[in-house]
């Protein structure tokens, strides 16, 4: 009945009752064991190699990702993020995406591509921070993690949408990055040009909350028509009070001209980058950038 079960121990040779020690292994059994050992070593190398391959993007120093608001500094962020995507699920404008294989060790970690869809704080309370189960996104950094100088905001940022509420501020102590006019030669405000039509064309899929349309429901930017004499979309749509304004500044040639100027309250949310109607955008967020005076 048990043809397929091997007997427990090989039958002991009858003429050698003293030989209680292991019987010598046959040649084929030895060969089999050797092969098994080899396979084990190969599998070990393969899996650990695959695990360590995640470090390649770090070695090649990829351009840094814009992380969701309240993210710890990059290294701490990657070590504490459990890659569950709960921040993705709560975002009302779907600003947060999860990184893929090319991000190596950061596979599954959340980031924001502000040009496609910025964080416009239309959730009012930084929901992603609330959703994070491991404190990767946090309102209060633990004491042993120091803030980099300039990363800290001088005051809690005032959300313009909530300006008249009893509590108008966002519970954020550090910035995600800082907006920078990276292509001034393209900026419509600098050129003194106006803008008509939807900011990013009719096919743009990005969404934003417009207080004048609906406080609680973000709408597609493609559905909103602008008509401005002199372009100030970045200033007009910035959700943070006092973060950006159009100022008259000296151009490199000494003449006076208008230009968007970023101020200290900028949290680096990326709305200006998303709304900028030039292609490519004139203003961009530098992720993890600190405020320099």
């Amino acid at each position: 009945m048990s043809q397929d079960e091997k007997p427990d121990t090989p039958p002991a040779p009858a003429d050698k009752p003293a030989a209680r020690a292991k019987p010598p292994l046959s040649r084929s059994r030895r060969q089999e064991l050797r092969r098994k050992l080899l396979r084990t070593v190969l599998l070990t190398g393969g899996v650990i190699g695959a695990g360590l391959s995640g470090f390649l993007p770090l070695v090649y120093a990829r351009s840094p990702r814009l992380r969701p608001p309240g993210a710890l500094d990059e290294k701490d962020f990657l070590s504490s993020c459990i890659k569950c995507g709960q921040c993705v699920q709560v975002c009302p404008v779907d600003a947060i995406k999860l990184a893929d294989l090319v991000d190596g060790i950061g596979v599954g970690a959340p980031y924001i591509d502000a040009r496609k869809q910025a964080c416009d704080f239309s959730c009012d309370a930084v929901q992603c921070v609330l959703a994070c189960p491991t404190g990767s996104l946090t309102y209060h950094k633990p004491a042993f993690l120091e803030a980099r100088p300039g990363a800290q905001l001088a005051a809690k940022p005032i959300l313009l949408a909530k300006e008249n509420d009893p509590e108008p501020t966002l519970n954020l102590t550090e910035r995600m990055g800082v907006a920078r006019l990276t292509r001034p030669e393209m900026c419509l405000a600098i050129k003194g040009k106006g803008f008509k039509g939807p900011a990013r064309g009719h096919t743009f899929r990005g969404k934003m909350r417009y207080m004048r349309i609906d406080r609680w429901k973000p709408v597609r930017i493609a559905e909103v028509r602008y008509e401005v004499e002199e372009c100030d979309l970045c200033v007009r749509e910035c959700p943070i009070k006092g973060a950006i304004s159009i100022e008259t500044v000296y151009a490199p040639d000494g003449s006076l001209r208008k230009s968007p100027v970023v101020h200290e309250p900028c949290v680096g949310c990326g709305v200006c980058e998303m709304i900028c109607p030039t292609e490519p955008g004139s203003i961009e967020i530098v992720p993890r950038e600190v405020w320099r005076t």
Binding site: S2, E5, T40, L43, V90, T134
Partner: protein
């Protein structure tokens, strides 16, 4: 064949008529041989039992497998629908989630984060504790076979592998099982040493779970590579020899009251259970002469998948909750 035997027999019967002594037949038909064999086992009761046993072998049950597949798919689809239809009941992925507001955090992921970040916030602790208690009650590695989406993919890949083995196109090349313990230590060490959750980058459980919920990505290529490896080279390589999640939950299962129980009395020691098992080493007790008691619980590495329960023709392997049978 049977005609030749009967013709020979006919000639002999004629010779017997003429005075020759009847002698033992040289050849017996196959079917008759089977019946002879059965009769040799003894009395009529035993004969009937043997017939019933042979019948039990014929009927294949997939009761527990089907239940398990439904449960596994429902749990994973619950995550997917909860997000896509904004039901907000089960948010997150298998690494960490929130069920009606309660944090649930995968033990191995939590361990990686704790070791890498060395800072444990309350929510992380609550979620880990909840999951620890949950799987302590439900059997540790039950997570593997009843929840992990990679397990299901690997189970299907295993079917292809076994078909290829039957066709003699591939052979299973087993690997040293101590490797999984080595991996567990290596990945824990890497988390501490590098400060990154290295294992999370290659965890097929996390990758498949996120792919289901948030959409597929290139990371699935790694999962595909693993499956190809399992189909052509090593049967169930990841779940058997590599996955540290399995070992973590296995340790949790040590204290679990839910397990598979082996009953020695009716077992024929045919070993079918060991052939279908993901972790056959836990079933060593079913080998003839190994059971230390009439009823022996199966070890903690068992994933409580129920394949052995389905395949056993004598009901010698059953689900059991420790102490429950005494209470009832």
């Amino acid at each position: 064949m049977s005609n030749t035997i009967l013709r020979k027999r006919f000639r002999e019967q004629i010779l017997v008529m003429f005075g020759r002594e009847p002698k033992k037949p040289e050849a017996i038909g196959e079917e008759a041989q089977k019946i002879h064999l059965l009769k040799r086992t003894g009395n009529k009761e035993k004969l009937q039992a043997a017939a019933a046993h042979a019948e039990a072998h014929m009927s294949t049950s997939h009761k527990w497998r089907n239940r398990r597949w439904v449960a596994l798919l429902l749990i994973n689809l619950f995550f997917v629908f909860s997000f896509h239809y904004d039901i907000q009941i089960l948010e997150g992925a298998l690494t960490a989630s929130r069920f009606i507001g309660f944090h649930l955090i995968d033990l191995n992921s939590a361990l990686q984060v704790m070791l890498a970040h060395r800072n444990i916030i309350t929510n992380l602790l609550i979620g880990t504790g909840t999951v620890l208690v949950l799987w302590m009650l439900f059997g540790g590695r039950t997570f593997c076979s009843w929840v992990c989406p990679y397990h299901l993919l690997a189970e299907w890949a295993e079917k292809i592998h076994l078909w290829l083995v039957r066709e003699k196109l591939v052979t299973d090349a087993p690997v040293d099982r101590r490797l999984r313990t080595v991996f567990w230590i290596v990945f824990a060490f890497l988390a501490v040493a590098t400060g990154y959750t290295v294992y999370e980058a290659i965890s097929p459980t996390g990758i498949v779970s996120r792919a289901l919920i948030y959409g597929p990505g290139l990371a699935l290529l790694w999962v595909l590579a693993l499956l190809v490896f399992e189909v052509f080279f090593v049967r169930r390589a990841w779940c058997r020899y590599a996955c540290p999640i399995g070992l973590t939950y296995g340790v949790v299962g040590i204290l679990s009251p839910l397990r598979i129980k082996y009953s020695l009395e009716n077992c024929y020691h045919e070993g079918n259970c060991r052939k279908v098992c993901l972790v056959p080493h836990v079933l060593d007790t079913v080998i003839k002469g190994r059971a230390v008691h009439t009823e022996v619980p199966i070890g903690p590495d068992c994933t409580r998948c129920g394949l052995c329960v389905d395949v056993c023709p004598t009901n010698s392997l059953t689900y059991d909750v420790k102490g429950l049978s005494k209470l009832l």
